[in-house]
Amino acid sequence: MVDLSTEYMGLKLAHPIVPSASPISRELDKAKQLEDAGAPALVMHSLFEEEIQSEAEHFSRFLVEQGIGHAEANSFHPEPIEFKNELDNYLEQLQKLKQSLSIPIIASLNGISMDGWVEHGKELQAAGADALELNVYYIPTNIFESSQYVEDRYVELLTELRRHVSIPITMKLSSQFSSVAHMVKQLENAGANGVVLFNRFYQPDIDLETLHIKPRLEYSSSIESLLRIRWVAILYGQVKLSLAVTGGVHGGKEVVKALMAGADVAHVCSEILGKGPQRISQIRDELAAWLEEHEYESVQQIKGSVSYKNAIDAGYYERANYLSVLDSYTHAPGVWR
């Protein structure tokens, strides 16, 4: 029997296939199904800082400051005595998940500002989160904003949060850094316990009828996993923090590749959203079968085996592989056609 167990930011997991942040965790039943399907941990849907903020502004406008200064009506909407905002709901859901599930729950924070991170991070820890995944969704649109500034911003945020939170923290990153490896190192230095590579952003799409922009997000495809695998491979051995691949993992083979590159876990999302929670156990079985077939003993054994550090042809993780991809469309020289 192959040992599928893995360790992710100090969390001991039965296997490395972890559902990533998705709407599934909004519903207790579905989260339970994931656990029943063998998910070793669960990353919750994201708590969006902007959502909390805009909600507060919205209620300030329509409840607290609703007067128009008319003698007959100085308000139009009854102020609720008590209500739950997005944060309350999130914390409540986190508590419910903790109560009904026995697997570790990783809370997911999505935001860019200092205040939001720290305050909300503390509350998530207090509500029982086993770890935090920080999803920094920052698009630098200002041409005077340097990459250094952007990187510093990430590091400062993490540093500040690290000061207030003791549970493990992993950073979910975008691939759009000038130097991903250096960035990850900086985060490690600032106290990150892991990184998740990479974010899949909603992309703005132009509606050709209205000329309005509409945000779009579609299910991933396996091809997207390659970018992640490459960077995990590069990082493996150069940093000590945990590594996770997210984006494009749809089956056992991608998991194997991610592990070989050096990942501690491989996140799945589109696959379970599209095909159901049972895919977790199926992928786990695919992984086990592959390892067994290829006579591996454990996940631990395979981790990083084809990383940048250990690969036979490590150069392909660098720029060289760009050429090789192109080359693969032509026949090798010397072969008779």
Binding site: A56, S60, R61, A71, F76
Partner: protein, 1210 residues
């Protein structure tokens, strides 16, 4: 006696708190100024707050005050402790039940925020006209004069009614007391318990109707016994005054506050006496005390129990030394020889003086006077003047005080400069703000802070104007070491502190007229501190120098912007007030403001709290004192409120009202029957917009959508020959019309009225045309208004001089064509982005020159007919909508009456025409009788024929000819419109709407459906959708919206349309044309997004579109004339719901709030509502497809329709 616990509340809250604690069933209906009592009660019950006995009172909103009174009558008869709150016409609607409740000796207290009655005009303000109209019902009447007394008397009333079995009307002055904020002693629950007789409550329960011990009540009686029965209650009424006094005494033992039925105050042996009741008694007490201190021998009596009228208690209270009495009534009884209180007191005195017990050397002279109608100011100067009048040999009787009656010479003059000691004792502060800038709420908060942090007594009173957009608020705050009895506004030279929160007021108001010597003036100005002085109008500079005023300035908008507060300046200005007024130590005050901010926003709004804190701290740094030069240097003058060339009436009346000088208008200038000229809103340039639309004529396709959607008719299109533009200002934009329907050389202009635009941006939002190279540039774009104001004002004035295009030549079935027509409804005071006014304006464009409008009370009557100015106007021919508002409940009937008059006069005119045929041309007579007025051309021709007829009639002199001359205009068609909101059409006026629909008469009913009572502040109506949170439906409305359209389709000949102009404008246009053309009743139900929906109205159109797409608001037209053509009358104009209902409702606070407060209910309502919209669409769809003959009715068809099988599975 327990130690007092002080709270800061207003009169309404004080009454509601006692009512909620001492009752079990509360039936409510919104009416200003009593609505907040119902709102409080509803809020407390919805949050599970129990009454004195630990059970939560049941609150029910009824369809009208008549309904509320009926429900209370029933609840009382069935043994509950029950109450209600109302005012004005609402109280009048309760009269029939009040007779019954009193007749059956049923204990209850009705709490009344006393308000004027609608006579020559409606008024929401305070006087005793309403309560005086019910004094014959058998209810006892108890008056309160201040918020403290409201709380105390509410309890005394409750105790007394239970013990006496006589129902009791507890009243206090609307606004002056109901809305005045005061620091008062709170009554604790032990006191309340000690006040109420448990035995009396048990007695009430035992008398209840019950099948377990049945009796019958409410019999009908015959001449033999009715009279005796009526007299049988006398012993109860005889006992009542002593019961009330006993309760007052018991209350005094418990609280230390002693009240009397008639309470004398003043000199021990006065000669002159004033008797009155209500809030004016407070100002009178203040004045009497002052005059006494000045050595005058005067006194006063506060009347507390007015009914039953205890003459002996009154006589006991009047000192025997009194020689002259003035009785003041806050009501008017036209044609009577005195107002009610006066006559009661005269009678009591006369009876006393004729008796053996007479204590007077000679019967005192008694004069009656009227004061304070509709919250008219009642000041110490006026009270002094009354005493002075009494001192005369022959004082004036039946006088008025507070106005200048140069018509009947009833009024007394008074010294406006007269002040009592209180003026020096109090710190008096005034704040000028915009309704939307939070000035009032910040001030309410300041009062609480000061009330809690000090031993000072506090008072806050807030004056609003009648506009809903850009409303100006003036807050009057007083703080002092003694109880504040100054129930009047802070006036000239009295304010120690004045704050101007909006720089634009500098050009509108002489704020410093109110400033006392050495007052502090705080000005929010965008100018640097060393430039602020130059920006002040000259008159203000002179006042600052003369009164040695200290001037402070802050650029609050910049501070707000930089602190993340956007445009919210209220906490910043509040911080400045505390920083420089010196009322509290600065640090303490700042901390208190921060605490209040934290309490308001709590943990859930931490970010907002942070922004506020940042703003508070920044405010202190940005506050500067301005050095005052020795001389006034400004050339800036405050412009006149109306142009110099305005008609006399507008200058003398309208202009003075606009500039806040309405109090000075003498009686002789007032229209005696409430008639006013139309079209005056155009004079009142309010200049509200920060940004205004700018027309890009190269991009524009002349589609006409922008004038259609503009809520204020501030963007117009006009078509004219190019040659007329020769003298146009250089920046006036115009170009050749697009399309072929206009002759060569015809130009078009889209012009904005810069000082009438409110900056809502809806015109830009609806504009469908985009620059091919820049998607964000449209044919209309918003640009900062200040830079455009002057040039666009010139352009607008030029635009107005261009002639209107001939209506006959316009294709009015297109948006483009119809939007060239002149709106005869313009620049109303409606909210920025109002969803109602575009419909009203559209009707005025299409039919305004022949329209009579019956307008239900509500938003549309307020923005449509509130002084000073009216948006209804007329065209160059002098024709335009004629408008009137009868009441809330009777509008359909009112409009029907107009139709009947029009038809009768038309009929009589035709009869006269036939009679006069020999003297007139046959051809003309026939043409007039048979004139086809189905088109604009036909109408114009008929009008031309009427002119011909008039010329001929001029030469005739028979009585018939004279009559026909009078009625000739009635030979042309008239369009009767019955307009109102959903509160009217679905609830209080539904009976009338129903009857008018059934009548078959040719009227057009336009229901502006905001799905809530908008004007009174967002209470639920039967139009409120399931799951929407509204006042009186805090937990989300549990039942679905009434389908008014379907009910209307049940009748034989009713045209019905469901429209939403923001979703499909052409369908709205068609519906208006078809409705007006329909020879029978028409009902247009118009979806009207409202600020009460909790969504920014700049998304007005998006919300309409989503309402339609989600199935919430299907679009359709039901034209019964099609039945005769063998066609199905129902035409669906919107497709099957194409977006989840949830996606629509999640965008509006009224729905989305419920997910936060009651998530399970919200889910349940959503599921139900989603099914309902699907089913309704399916149902309508099937109705529109079945074969229809004249016998078919929707209810019959309903039996044949099936629920969508898909839905059955869900």
């Amino acid at each position: 006696m327990k130690k007092a616990h002080m709270i800061t509340i207003d009169g309404n809250q004080a009454a509601a708190s006692i009512a909620h604690l001492t009752n079990e069933v509360i039936a409510i209906y919104p009416i200003t100024p009593a609505s907040p009592m119902g709102e409080w009660a509803d809020e407390w019950s919805s949050r599970g707050q129990p009454n004195l006995w630990g059970t939560v009172p049941h609150i029910i909103e009824m369809q009208s005050e008549a309904g509320a009174a009926g429900a209370i009558h029933g609840a009382l008869q069935a043994g509950s402790l029950a109450t209600t709150f109302t005012a004005s016409q609402g109280l009048l609607l309760m009269i029939p039940n009040m007779y019954k409740i009193a007749g059956e000796l049923t204990p209850t207290v009705f709490h009344i925020a006393a308000r004027s009655l609608a006579c020559q005009a409606l008024s929401i303000f305070g006087d005793h006209s309403d309560v005086m109209s019910v004094r014959m019902t058998g209810f006892a009447m108890l008056s309160s004069n201040s918020p403290q007394e409201v709380q105390d008397m509410a309890l005394i009333a409750q105790a007394a009614t239970l013990e006496s079995r006589i129902p009791l009307l507890h009243f206090f002055d609307g606004f002056r007391t109901s809305h005045e904020l005061q620091k008062i002693n709170e009554i604790d629950q032990d006191t309340i318990r000690a006040m109420l007789s448990q035995e009396a409550i048990q007695g009430h329960r035992q008398r209840a109707l019950s099948p377990d011990h049945p009796v019958v009540r409410g019999t009908s009686q015959n001449p033999d016994v009715y009279f005796q029965g009526r007299e049988s209650v006398n012993p109860f009424y005889e006992k009542m005054p002593s019961i009330v006094q006993t309760c007052m005494d018991r209350f005094a033992e418990l609280t230390g506050r002693q009240y009397k039925l008639f309470e004398y105050l003043g000199d021990t042996n006065p000669e002159r006496l004033i008797i009155l009741m209500g809030s004016g008694a407070e100002a009178t007490q203040e004045t009497v005390e002052y005059l006494q201190s000045e050595g005058e021998s005067v006194g006063m009596i506060k009347v507390r129990l007015y009914r039953p009228f205890d003459a002996s208690a009154l006589l006991d209270a009047i000192p025997a030394s009194v020689k002259k009495i003035v009785v003041l009534d806050r009501t008017k009884e036209p044609g009577a020889d005195g107002e009610p209180l006066y006559k009661d007191i005269v009678t009591a005195l006369a009876q006393h003086c004729c008796s053996e017990a007479n204590k007077f050397a000679s019967m005192p002279v008694v004069m009656g006077g009227r004061y304070g109608l509709s919250s008219k100011e009642f000041t110490p100067g006026m009270i002094k003047s009354i005493f002075d009048e009494l001192a005369k040999d022959k004082p004036k009787n039946h006088f008025t005080i507070g106005i200048h009656d140069d018509l009947s010479n009833t009024s007394l003059e008074w010294d406006k400069q007269f002040r009592t000691d209180a003026n020096n004792e109090h710190f008096q502060a005034m704040f000028y703000g915009l309704g939307s800038d939070g000035t009032v709420s910040a001030n309410k908060n300041s009062i609480k802070i000061i009330g809690e942090a000090t031993d000072l007594y506090t008072q806050g009173y807030f004056v609003y104007d009648s506009k809903k957009s850009g409303a100006v608020t003036v807050s009057h705050l007083r703080f002092g070491p003694n109880p504040i009895r100054s129930t009047y506004l802070i006036s000239d030279n009295d304010a120690n502190f004045i704050a101007c929160h909006q720089p634009v007021f500098l050009e509108r108001y002489n704020m410093l007229d109110n400033a006392a010597d050495e007052a502090v003036f705080l000005l929010n100005s965008s100018h640097a501190p060393d430039k602020v002085w130059d920006d002040l109008p000259k008159h203000m500079q002179e006042q600052i120098i003369a009164k040695r005023i200290k001037l402070y300035t802050i650029d609050a908008y910049t501070v707000a912007e930089q602190s993340g507060m956007g445009k919210r300046i209220n906490t910043i200005m509040q911080t400045c007030f505390f920083a420089i007024s010196g009322i509290l130590p600065r640090e303490d005050a700042i901390q208190a403001i921060k605490d209040a901010v934290e309490k308001t926003y709590g943990k859930k709004g931490q970010r907002i709290v942070d922004f506020n804190f940042k703003a508070i701290d920044a405010a202190l740094g940005a506050l500067h004192e301005v050095r005052i030069p020795d001389k006034a240097t400004s050339k800036r003058l405050i412009p006149p409120p109306v142009p110099d060339n305005a008609p006399d009436f507008v200058k003398q009346v309208t202009g003075r009202i606009i500039s806040g000088q309405g109090d000075d208008i003498p009686v002789s200038l007032m229209p005696f029957d409430g008639t006013y000229p139309t079209g005056t809103a155009a004079i009142e340039k309010r200049n509200l917009a920060l940004e205004m639309p700018v027309w890009e004529m190269d991009l524009c396709t002349d589609c006409g959508k922008c004038p259609l959607v503009c809520p204020h008719a501030a963007i117009r299109s006009k078509i004219f020959p190019e040659e007329l533009t020769q003298k146009a200002p250089s920046t006036f934009k115009h170009r050749t019309t697009r399309g072929k329907e206009f002759p060569a050389g015809t130009h078009i202009a889209y012009q904005v009225a810069p000082e009438d635009c409110t900056g809502c941006g809806l015109c830009v939002e609806i504009c469908p045309i985009r620059d091919k190279s820049n998607a964000s540039r449209k044919a209309l774009n918003m640009a900062p208004q200040p830079a455009l104001r002057a040039s666009e004002r010139d352009n607008w004035n030029f635009f107005l001089t261009l002639p209107e295009y001939d209506r006959i030549l316009l294709k009015n079935t297109t948006i483009k064509g119809s939007m060239i027509m002149q709106p005869l409804f313009e620049f109303s005071g409606a909210c920025v982005g109002c969803g109602e006014t575009p419909y009203v304006k559209l009707a005025s464009q299409l039919f305004g020159d022949r329209m009579l409008v019956a307008n239900a009370t509500g938003c549309s009557s307020i923005y449509g007919g509130n002084l000073p100015t009216t948006p209804w106007c007329k065209n160059a021919d002098g024709r335009g909508p004629a408008w009137n508002n009868s009441l809330f409940e009777d509008n359909a009937e009112f409009g029907l009456g107009m139709r009947l008059a029009v038809e009768k006069q038309h009929e009589y005119a035709c009869e006269l025409l036939k009679e006069l045929r020999p003297q007139l041309e046959d051809k003309l007579v026939d043409a007039l009788l048979d004139g086809d007025e189905s088109s604009e051309a036909g109408i114009a021709e008929q009008r031309a024929r009427i002119e011909q007829l008039k010329q001929k009639l001029n030469k005739l002199s028979s009585p018939q000819a004279n009559d026909l001359m009078q009625l000739a205009d009635m030979l042309s068609r008239k369009s009767v419109w019955i307009i109102g909101g959903d509160g009217w059409a679905y609830d209080i006026g539904y009976g009338g709407v129903d009857h008018v629909l059934a009548s078959g008469y040719n009227v057009n009913i336009l229901v502006l459906d905001t799905e809530v009572y908008s004007n009174t502040g967002g209470q639920a109506s039967k139009a409120t959708p399931r799951g929407a949170v509204a006042k009186f439906a805090t937990g989300g409305k549990a039942c679905g919206k009434k389908d008014l359209a379907l009910l209307a389709m049940e009748y034989e000949n009713v045209y019905v349309a469901h429209v939403a102009y923001g979703a499909k404008d052409i369908q709205t246009l068609r519906a208006f044309h078809e409705a007006e053309a329909h020879d029978g009743p028409s009902l247009i139900i118009a979806y009207s997004p409202c600020i009460a929906h909790g969504v920014d109205l700049s998304f007005n159109h998006r919300q309409q579109e989503m309402a339609v797409k989600s199935g919430h608001w299907p679009l359709f037209r039901f034209d019964p004339t099609r039945i005769k053509q063998g066609k199905n009358p129902l035409h669906l104009d919107s497709a099957a719901p194409s977006m989840p209902y949830e996606d629509f409702i999640k965008t509006e606070t009224r729905f989305s709030m419920l997910w936060r407060s009651h998530p399970d209910d919200a889910d349940r309502f959503l599921k139900q509502a989603q099914n309902e919209v699907q089913h309704r669409y399916q149902y309508y769809k099937q109705l529109s497809e079945i074969e229809w003959d004249e016998q078919t009715k929707p209810s019959a068809a309903k039996l044949t329709t099936k629920i969508n099988p898909q839905l059955e599975n869900e």
